[in-house]
C-alpha cells in the first residue's frame, strides 16, 4: 500500500457561471490514488462527484463559463508528474484517453451509433499508438476478447445498436483500456445495467485491474457496489469531501453523520421480509448548489445539529488518524455519544 500515488488532487474547486452569480459545484477536494488501488467516490446528485472527474479529464467548458482551480498531478509515462489542470490542450490530448481514461454511465450514448465497433476501437488505439490499420484491428480483437466479448472478430463490423447494454459497456471498457491507462475513472459504469450484468462488469474491472495495476476511481451512489470493490472511499456532499477512509473502517464506524445516515437508509438484504419497520431515512432534501446552507452544508438534515455552531462556520476537513479524514465539528462528541 506504500506505492507512490499515480494521481494527486489538491484543493480542486470548480465554479460555474450561472444566472445571478457563480455556483460552486466543487470546493476544496483533495485526494490521491495509488497504483492498483480502487477509490470509490460516493455521493448523491449535486455532490460534485461527476464534476470532479470531468475536471480531471479537462472535459469541462472553458472560462468564463467555468473556473477550475487547485492542482491535479498525474504520473506521466516517464514518471514525471503532469499538472493536469494546466497542461496545454495539445498535450492534454496526448494524456486524455492514454494515461487517464474514463468510462461513463450510459453505454448507449457514449458510443457513436453510426460507426462500427471496430472503427471506434481502432480509432482510439491509433490516436495514441502509431500502428497500421491492420495491426490496430488485431489489437481491437485482442481487447474485445479481453473484456469477454464472444466472437470478437465478427463484432468489429457490428454497430452499437446490435449489442446489449452490458456488451456496450464492455466495448467502452475495451476502448478505455486500449492505451493501458495509469488511472481509469469509472463514472457510475454499472448504474444503467441489470444486477446480473453489473456483477459481470464489476468482476471484469477487478480482473483487468489486477492484470494491469491501473488505479480506478469508481464514482457511484450504490453503497453495495462500494463495499464490493473499493479499497478506499471518498464521501462527497454538496461539492465537498465530508469523509475519507478505508472501506472497512468506513462501513464499520462512519464518523460524519451524513455517512452514517446514508449507510443506515439502505435496506438490508439480510433483513428482507423481516418487517423491520420504517427505514431510518435522512430527512429533507439534497441542498440546491445555488443556495448552499451556511456553515456545514449538511446541518439542516443532521440529527446532531447544534444551533450557533454547525450553522455558523464551515468545518474544515480534519485528519483523524489512520489516514482518515472527516469534515464535522462535532465528530468526537458524536462518537462518544454513540459509543455510550
Amino acid at each position: 500500500m506504500s506505492a507512490p500515488p499515480v494521481l494527486e488532487v489538491e484543493n480542486l474547486a470548480v465554479r460555474f457561471r450561472a444566472e445571478g452569480g457563480e455556483v460552486a459545484a466543487v470546493s476544496d477536494v483533495s485526494f490521491s490514488v495509488r497504483r492498483g488501488e480502487t477509490l470509490a467516490v460516493v455521493g448523491e446528485s449535486g455532490s460534485g462527484k461527476s464534476v470532479t472527474s470531468l475536471a480531471l479529464m479537462r472535459l469541462l467548458p472553458k472560462p468564463p463559463a467555468c473556473h477550475i482551480s487547485g492542482e491535479a498531478r498525474l504520473a506521466g509515462q516517464d514518471g514525471r508528474m503532469l499538472d493536469l489542470l494546466r497542461l496545454p490542450e495539445t498535450e492534454m490530448r496526448a494524456v486524455r484517453g492514454n494515461r487517464i481514461a474514463m468510462i461513463f454511465q450510459e453505454p448507449m450514448t457514449s458510443l457513436n451509433p453510426v460507426k462500427t465497433i471496430g472503427r471506434q476501437i481502432t480509432e482510439a488505439i491509433r490516436l495514441h499508438r502509431p500502428m497500421s490499420r491492420a495491426a490496430a484491428e488485431e489489437e481491437a480483437v485482442r481487447l474485445l476478447d479481453l473484456v469477454g466479448i464472444p466472437a470478437p472478430r465478427q463484432r468489429l463490423t457490428s454497430y452499437p445498436h446490435h449489442l446489449s447494454g452490458g456488451m456496450r459497456q464492455r466495448v467502452m471498457i475495451a476502448i478505455a483500456l486500449s492505451c493501458e491507462p495509469a488511472v481509469l475513472i469509472a463514472d457510475e459504469p454499472t448504474t444503467a445495467l441489470d444486477v446480473t450484468i453489473q456483477a459481470q462488469i464489476l468482476d471484469l474491472l477487478r480482473r483487468l485491474q489486477q492484470m494491469s495495476g491501473m488505479a480506478v476511481i469508481f464514482i457511484t451512489h450504490n453503497l453495495g457496489v462500494v463495499a464490493e470493490i473499493a479499497d478506499r472511499v471518498l464521501v462527497m456532499y454538496a461539492g465537498r469531501v465530508v469523509e475519507q477512509a478505508d472501506v472497512r473502517p468506513l462501513f464499520a464506524r462512519p464518523l460524519m453523520p451524513y455517512t452514517t445516515g446514508l449507510l443506515r437508509s439502505v435496506p438490508r438484504l439480510d433483513l428482507a421480509g423481516r418487517r423491520a419497520g420504517a427505514l431510518p431515512a435522512i430527512p429533507g432534501n439534497v441542498p440546491d448548489p445555488r443556495h448552499p446552507p451556511t456553515g456545514c452544508a449538511f446541518h439542516p438534515r443532521c440529527e446532531h445539529f447544534q444551533p450557533g455552531r454547525c450553522d455558523a462556520a464551515a468545518p474544515a476537513l480534519e485528519q483523524v488518524g489512520d489516514g482518515r479524514t472527516v469534515r464535522c465539528l462535532r465528530w468526537r462528541e458524536i462518537s462518544l455519544e454513540t459509543a455510550a
Binding site: 448523491e44 446528485s45 464472444p150 446489449s164 447494454g165 452490458g166 456488451m167 441489470d194 444486477v195 446480473t196 450484468i197 453489473q198 456483477a199 459481470q200 464489476l202 468482476d203 451512489h221 450504490n222 453503497l223 453495495g224 457496489v225 462500494v226 463495499a227 464490493e228 473499493a230 472501506v247 472497512r248 462501513f251 464499520a252 445516515g261 446514508l262 449507510l263 437508509s265 439502505v266 435496506p267 438490508r268 438484504l269 439480510d270 433483513l271 428482507a272 421480509g273 423481516r274 423491520a276 420504517a278 427505514l279 431510518p280 431515512a281 435522512i282 430527512p283 432534501n285 439534497v286 438534515r301
Partner: protein, 340 residues
C-alpha cells in the same frame, strides 16, 4: 375466520395465463412479421392489503404486467379479474368507473409531471377526469388533503414541478395517484430515479400510506434490497414468464429457481465484511423475439439438463405458498442471506 380476515384473504387482482405479444417487423410482408412475447402465460393473484414485489431484469416483462393489469394495454389472451370482476375485455367506457380504483405511480418524477401545470392542476386532474371535482373549494380541499397525505404542504399546490426536488416530485406523483382514493396501486420503479437518502423517505411513505389507506400495491423494482424491505411476497420474472413466487423471507432463505438464486447472489451487499462467492451468470438475457425452447432460463442456467429444452416448466407449488417453475427438484440452491 372473521369477515375482516375473509376480506383480507380475497384477492383484489387475479391474473390467469396472461399473454401480451407485440408484433414487430414489416406489416406489408406477413411472413416477416414476428411476435415479441413480452408476457407469455403469467398467472398470479394479489391479496387485498398486501404488497407484491415484482422483480426481474430489463426486458423481463415487469412493466408490461403493470400496464396490462391496469388495462392500459390490451392483453393478447388470458384473463384479468379485479375485485372479482372480469375486466379483460371491458370497453373504455366500462373501464372508466374502475380506473379511479386502480392507479399508477411512474418511475421518473421528471418526465411524468406536466412542466406547464401547477401541482394543484396535476394532482386534481384525476378528479376532473372522473367528475369528482365538486366545485373549486372542494377540489382545493381534496388537493390539500392529498398533499398532506404524502408529506407536502398546502403552499406546494401553487408550485410548478421544476421548483420541486426529485423526492417532492415523486410525492406529487403519489398524491395524484391517491386523490381518487384507489384500492390498488401499481408502483413502477417508484424510487429508482431518486437519490439514496430520498429513496428511504419514499419507501417509508408508501408503507405508511398502505397501512393508513388499506392499499394493495404491485411494487415493480429491480433493487432487491428495496423490494425485500417493502414486499409481503415477491414474484420473479424472466423473459416474459413468472419463474418463482413466494413470501419474501421464504424466497430469500429458500430460493427454488436457479434464476432467483443467481439474481439474489448478484445483488451487492453494503457491507465490506461480507464476502460471498457469487454466481456470475454468463451472457445476457436472450432476445424475447427468439426465446430458447423449453425453460427460458436454461441457456444461462448452471443446472440445466437436456430435458430443460423440452417443455416450458409449469409454475408449481414446491412448498406451501411457494411456487417455482423448475424441473430440478434434486438440487439444493443457495440462500443469499443467513438466518439470524
Amino acid at each position: 375466520m372473521s369477515a375482516a380476515q375473509e376480506q383480507q384473504r380475497t384477492p383484489i387482482l387475479e391474473v390467469e395465463d396472461l399473454r401480451k405479444w407485440f408484433p414487430v417487423g414489416n406489416a406489408l410482408l406477413p411472413r416477416n412479421r414476428r411476435q415479441v412475447k413480452a408476457l407469455d402465460g403469467v398467472s398470479f393473484s394479489i391479496r387485498r392489503g398486501e404488497i407484491l414485489g415484482l422483480v426481474g431484469e430489463s426486458g423481463s416483462g415487469k412493466t408490461t404486467i403493470g400496464r396490462t393489469v391496469l388495462r392500459l394495454v390490451p392483453p393478447t389472451s388470458g384473463r384479468i379479474r379485479f375485485d372479482g370482476q372480469d375486466i379483460t375485455h371491458l370497453s373504455r367506457r366500462e373501464l372508466r368507473p374502475l380506473r379511479k380504483r386502480m392507479q399508477l405511480v411512474f418511475q421518473d418524477p421528471f418526465a411524468s409531471l406536466n412542466p406547464r401545470m401547477t401541482v394543484e392542476r396535476i394532482v386534481s386532474t384525476p378528479l376532473l377526469i372522473h367528475g369528482m371535482e365538486g366545485g373549486a373549494a372542494a377540489r382545493r380541499a381534496k388537493v390539500e388533503e392529498a398533499l398532506r397525505l404524502v408529506g407536502l404542504l398546502p403552499h406546494h399546490a401553487a408550485r410548478y414541478p421544476h421548483e420541486l426536488s426529485g423526492g417532492q416530485r415523486q410525492r406529487v406523483g403519489i398524491a395524484r395517484a391517491l386523490i381518487t382514493r384507489p384500492e390498488f396501486l401499481v408502483a413502477d420503479e417508484p424510487v429508482s430515479a431518486l437519490d439514496v437518502s430520498i429513496q428511504a423517505q419514499v419507501v417509508n411513505l408508501l408503507v405508511e400510506l398502505k397501512e393508513l389507506l388499506g392499499l394493495t400495491i404491485l411494487f415493480i423494482a429491480h433493487d432487491l434490497a428495496v423490494v425485500g424491505h417493502i414486499s409481503d411476497r415477491i414474484a420473479v420474472m424472466y423473459l416474459g414468464r413468472l419463474v418463482e413466487i413466494a413470501e419474501t423471507r421464504e424466497l430469500f432463505l429458500n430460493p427454488r429457481h436457479p434464476y432467483t438464486e443467481a439474481l439474489f447472489s448478484a445483488a451487492p451487499i453494503p457491507d465490506p465484511e461480507v464476502r460471498r462467492s457469487r454466481i456470475i451468470l454468463a451472457g445476457d438475457i436472450p432476445s424475447p423475439l427468439d426465446p430458447p425452447s423449453g425453460c427460458p432460463f436454461r441457456t444461462r442456467c448452471r443446472y440445466a439438463l437436456p430435458a430443460c429444452a423440452q417443455d416450458v416448466p409449469p409454475l408449481r407449488e414446491v412448498a406451501p405458498g411457494h411456487l417455482a417453475a423448475c424441473i430440478r427438484d434434486d438440487i439444493q440452491l443457495r440462500s443469499s442471506v443467513t438466518e439470524t
